[in-house]
Symmetry: none
Subunit: 195 residues, 4 copies
DNA sequence: TATGAATGAGCGTTCATTCAT
DNA sequence: CATGAATGAACGCTCATTCAT
């Protein structure tokens, strides 16, 4: 049978840009935006330092690419939940389950999205990044689920859900206590079951 | 008669150190730690740049002083509540009221304490700051109040309260919507009334 | 029957090198040598960046080729004058006419040859380019004409003529005033008529 | 008698900025703007590299300062001529004498002002420098002298004078022949005597 | 022959920190 | 005590040049 992965053979770039974005996502989470140098990113991605600029014109473009990667990841995760669960309630519970999937990492470095938004919002307006979407996406999705459950206050409930997660993630991180996050998740799950 | 303001004449310009700390608190909140230079702080404090090092040996000491100032402010605010209110329930409500006292500022720059913890937790362990106290203090205080109300799950409730605030503050900031914070505060107040 | 266009099929895209040189001549004039990158030249020539090095080993070789193109152009122009005019006097006037043929371009970017010589003479001796010929060629030609007119000071007159042009071109460019160049040309023409 | 140079004693900066500007003027002349690095300038000025930025915010500011130094030097030289000579004719001759005062340097590196204008005019409009004044100043001054001599075409004569100098300087530099400049100066002097 | 990708040396710039007075 | 000046390490970025295919 013929090789179906023909492009892979010719591909001159074995995911180098992809590796750079992955490294950026990781380091931005672990060290923050300001403390992460392009040399750091290049090193983790195993790419020569100067080569970063073949793929990205500026550091800000790398950050933007990392934000975009987060967006894609969120979209994918929500689509996956949609595909795997039918009822709005089970979908919301699945989201809460995602919250605790990486509780150890979140405890060490905070919520990847929350800390990114927090840091980037410190920038002056003319250097701002479109991070609001990172929050808006899961909120809008949760709102849809609550609305499907007949809740008129769907928007508020969605905000409440995300705020509970982000707040717990921050406390877990600051106090270095993963149980804060898991306890909060358990409470949220119970809430979703009973209301 | 002798000069009664003798110290004023020789002593360092009154409140110079104090002004530096106040400027640091303000700028760390608005611009973040990494983006704020000592020159920025000196300028806002109206202190000559080189003079900062008379009061602080390193930038980290300035940050530590700002953290300490936050600690004092929190202690003061909680002591003030203790003095002004008798019942645990009214005290907790007073705390929630504090949450929204600066909702506009929080919407613009996030919770001063939350964003500080978030950013400083990105540091490697050997450069860490004792920011956990900033969170621990109000949590322990709230736990005391919940316990006084006879709640066995006082610790969890305190965490839940603070997480709700920090999460709402983050969402308000990221989505630039102060109503997220005020709505959350209203819900918390109602919760404290009815439970 | 054999393919009569054999070379066209295999040979490098026709005029690729030529396009590169033309682009170099243009950009070196407009932006100067140092400010013009090989990527700029490749882009204007519509040649892939990496491909430049198939035709030229270094950037300096591209510059050398541009200088050579100027040399050819000058030789061609002078030969053309020789062919079209008989008397030395009319030939010299024809040269002066050339001076103002592109007065707008000269006003915007200076004399292509003069500015090239000016910039390249800033180089250390071991990186020098043979730009003197660019000046020497028209001077020697003018000298021949003046000599044919019986002038013993032919060399000086030739230098005077070229200096008047180059100086006017520089002033036109710096002061953004094309009339400086055209006025100078008119005076030179009158001088050639009357002396 | 009291020390009249009291400020000199306290002066914390022994002409460091001045040395930097002088080094910039020298190197910009010898190597051109683009080829001169701030490290070069710092080294010639015997100033630590990083310290340049205490006096100038950007490299462009250093260039601007060098341009300004040229302006001052020109103003000073013209004022000096005005002070030393009475008649317009002798003043113009004095200017021509200045042209050849540094004929060796001009032969090696071109006219400091002419080459600066030539190189900086290659910049895009939004990065332009105010170099026109460098040319305008001596032209306006010469025009004044010619007008004082009763010449209606004073402006043209002034342009002609400066163009003759700048053109000769360029040719001297390109052909590495100082006699081109001195011969031109002699001719100009003669012209000023006889017309 | 042709080309997208890769590479590293070097430059401008920032800023925490130190020093001389 | 106070301060303008000084310092150097490090970062973002450019670009001529090379390489693998």
């Amino acid at each position: 049978m013929a090789d179906l992965t023909q492009t892979a053979a010719v591909a001159p770039r074995p995911g180098k840009r992809q590796r750079l974005v992955a490294a950026a996502v990781q380091l931005l989470h672990q060290q923050g935006v300001q403390r992460t140098t392009l040399a750091d990113i290049a090193q983790v991605a195993e790419v020569p330092p100067g080569n970063v600029y073949y793929y990205f014109k500026t550091k800000d473009e790398v950050v933007a690419a990392a934000i975009d990667a987060h967006l894609q990841q969120i979209r994918g995760a929500l689509a996956d939940i949609d595909a795997r669960f039918d009822s709005p309630r089970s979908r919301l519970k699945a989201l809460v389950d995602l919250f605790t999937a990486d509780s150890e990492t979140v405890t060490q470095h905070g919520c990847p999205i929350g800390t990114l938004c927090s840091e980037l919002d410190k920038r002056p307006a003319h250097e701002a990044f479109p991070v609001a979407d990172l929050m808006h996406l899961p909120i809008a999705w949760a709102e849809t689920q609550f609305r499907a459950l007949g809740r008129a206050d769907a928007h508020d409930l969605a905000l409440q859900l995300m705020a509970a997660y982000e707040g717990s993630a921050l406390l877990s991180n600051t106090l270095r206590d993963p149980t804060i996050l898991t306890t909060a998740a358990r409470r949220l799950t119970h809430w979703l079951t009973t209301f």
